[in-house]
């Protein structure tokens, strides 16, 4: 116990004496949380739209006016040929083109159906999907008005009516969805990188050898190394949760105690991961690269940006070793759905088993004799 005390005392002195440490631990995650939470969005506002209005009629102008009134679109042009937009589409200045045929009004007046062509820049597939969906919604409304005007009653709504309700995030606020995930990401990075780099640093400067000739026990060394960063990561997480609540008004429906309790186990997992990397590398540079190798994969596959359900089967299997995926899942369940212990017991079990495995591996890998 006393040995651990001396180790911890030394670590904390070193951490807080390092002038770069405080900004790394506190300022960087806050800036990242603020920036990323505002920018990592799935919403599309102000998509640039252009028209090829061959009809030049009252009806076509009405349709264009509908788009003008929508917050999702900014009208960037009106021309007589799609060709004229080739360059703008290529440059990305225009996201979507709607071509209205010259028989648009005459067909409508005569009760015939007519075709409107919708062309979207699908380089970003999901963005194209969204824009098209917004545009279709407007076209659908327009269509419905015409039918109502023509037949005197709303034929389209007489069949199946759809009343969507978005549970757990009724306003489809992307921040509600992203902030808990981004928070997990930031504390994971802090934990894994700092713990990994710290042990490798002792290798680099040679002090690890001096420690290894002392009768210090493996577990004492590992506790001495992990505990300080565990404390830091937990403080960061608590800080981030407060920020999420105050700045982004993210609801925390579930129990805060449950979040912190599982976070405590999760942080051991992440720190052990960093420690494991430090046992297989000799320099901070190597440790950094190896850590990035894993974390880039973990982050992209975590379900933070794209749903895990949409990934191929093999990718979902790889995700079994993705700690971030487990914790983001857990955090969203508890924060947004108000899941309780019983609801998330499988996630907790997985995180716990994984943490024990990783800690065990790094203890086995860490040798007092090379």
């Amino acid at each position: 116990m006393r040995t651990i005390f001396f180790l911890l005392q030394k670590e904390f002195i070193q951490i807080f004496r390092n002038k770069m440490m405080l900004p790394i631990i506190f300022v960087m995650p806050i800036i990242q949380l603020l920036i990323l939470s505002y920018t990592a969005t799935f919403e599309i506002k102000n998509a640039d739209i252009a028209f090829v209005d061959l009809s030049q009629s009252r009806s076509s102008r009405e349709l264009i006016a509908k788009f003008k009134g929508s917050p999702f679109f900014t009208i960037k042009g009106n021309a007589f040929s799609i060709k004229q937009y080739d360059k703008s589409m290529l440059n990305g200045d225009i996201d979507i083109i709607i071509k209205i045929p010259n028989d648009f009004e005459s067909s409508l007046l005569n009760g015939r159906s007519t075709f409107v062509q919708l062309i979207s820049d699908a380089v970003n597939g999901s963005a194209a999907n969204l824009m098209t969906a917004y545009a279709l919604q407007i076209l659908f409304d327009f269509n419905r008005n015409i039918i109502t005007e023509t037949y005197g009653k709303d034929l389209m709504s007489s069949q199946i009516k759809i009343l969507p309700r978005y549970w757990f995030n009724p306003e489809l606020n992307y921040k509600t969805y992203m902030v808990p995930g981004i928070l997990v990401l930031l504390v994971s990075l802090i934990g894994a990188f700092l713990s990994g780099m710290n042990v490798v640093r002792e290798k680099e400067i040679g002090t690890i050898e001096q420690l290894n000739v002392t009768p210090i026990k493996k577990y004492q060394f590992i506790i001495g190394k992990l505990f300080p960063f565990w404390v830091i990561a937990m403080v960061d997480l608590i800080f981030g949760l407060i920020l999420a609540k105050l700045v982004f008004a993210i609801p925390i429906l579930g129990s805060v105690a449950l979040i912190l309790g599982v976070a405590a186990i999760y942080m051991i997992l992440v720190l052990a991961f960093g420690l494991f990397i430090s046992t297989i590398t000799d320099t901070q540079q190597q440790a950094m690269f190896i850590a990035w190798f894993f974390f880039v994969i973990f982050i992209i596959m975590s379900g933070l940006f794209t749903p895990v359900e949409g990934m191929p089967k093999w990718a979902q299997i790889i995700n079994i070793i993705n700690p971030i995926a487990y914790f983001i899942d857990f955090m969203r369940l508890v924060m947004l759905k108000g899941a309780d212990f019983v609801d998330v017991q499988m996630q907790i079990l997985k995180i716990t088993v994984y943490a024990i495995t990783m800690l065990g591996l790094s203890i086995i890998r860490y040798r007092k004799n090379a």
Binding site: L7, I13, Q14, P215, K368, A370
Partner: protein, 246 residues
């Protein structure tokens, strides 16, 4: 006489490379034992095995009566070690370093305090007390590292090239520290590539290419090789083995 270190047929291989080729020697308690050799001769490898930092490939190694294969943690309680890599924390002060190492050796706070005062007086560090170790002159750092390696009063002290890069005056002072510990009955196992330092040792071995090429007191070796100083013997042996190989 009691034996502090006993090495029989020690072999250490890294893959195909034989770093220590069948070493045999004994060090008696209270002896100052010099371990000489060029860079890459295998001195550090052997010292690391003796300190329990590395396991031998084969052979018998006993340090302070404990076996290097199975009792390396017991060995660690009884030895002090100062490596050629600087081993104190640059970003801690003198006192913090002493407190840390004293602490992990399980010494009482009172004892650590007493030792700190003792070292500061002995090494004349009063003016440096508040400074970080990184700001100390190299000579003082090395002397402090020696004292810290010694804080738990071990019976054997291993020093791996403790004086490399240090000026001659500080080297002389460093050897005074070594003698002071030897006089207390401690065994000193010191490696160096300064041949003049060999004269300070009770007995020396000269290692060449992983093998022990010579072993004895400095005077006996000089007599046997009809040399004026250890340096001559060293050059003779190093060249001899080189020409044998080619």
């Amino acid at each position: 006489m009691e034996t502090a270190v006993r090495v029989v047929n020690l072999v250490k291989k890294f893959g195909n490379f034989v770093a220590n080729d069948n070493l045999n020697f004994e060090v008696s308690k209270g002896e100052v034992f010099g371990f000489l050799g060029a860079n890459g001769a295998g001195k550090t490898t052997a010292i690391k095995i003796l300190c329990g930092l590395s396991k031998p490939t084969s052979g018998t190694v006993q340090v302070a009566g404990f076996d290097a294969y199975h009792q390396s943690e017991k060995i660690k309680q009884n030895i002090g070690y100062m490596s050629q890599k600087f081993s104190l924390y640059d970003d801690l002060t003198i006192k913090e370093n002493i407190r840390f190492y004293g602490g992990i050796y399980g010494l009482s706070s009172k004892f650590i305090k007493q030792k700190t005062d003792e070292y500061i007086t002995q090494l004349q560090l009063e003016q440096y007390q508040k400074r970080f170790v990184k700001d100390l002159p190299l000579g003082i750092k090395q002397k402090l590292a020696f004292s810290v390696a010694n804080i738990h009063n071990p019976s054997i002290i291993f020093l791996d090239e403790p004086t490399s890069g240090v000026d001659p005056i500080t080297r002389r002072q460093f050897w005074d520290l070594i003698y002071a510990e030897a006089h207390k009955g401690k065994t000193i196992f010191v490696s160096t590539h300064y041949m003049d330092e060999a004269e300070y040792c009770d007995r020396i071995t000269i290692m060449v290419d992983g093998k022990i090429a010579a072993l004895g007191t400095p005077n006996n070796l000089k007599r046997d090789y009809k040399a004026n100083n250890i340096s001559e013997i060293f050059l003779l042996l190093a060249r001899g083995i080189k020409s044998e190989n080619h």
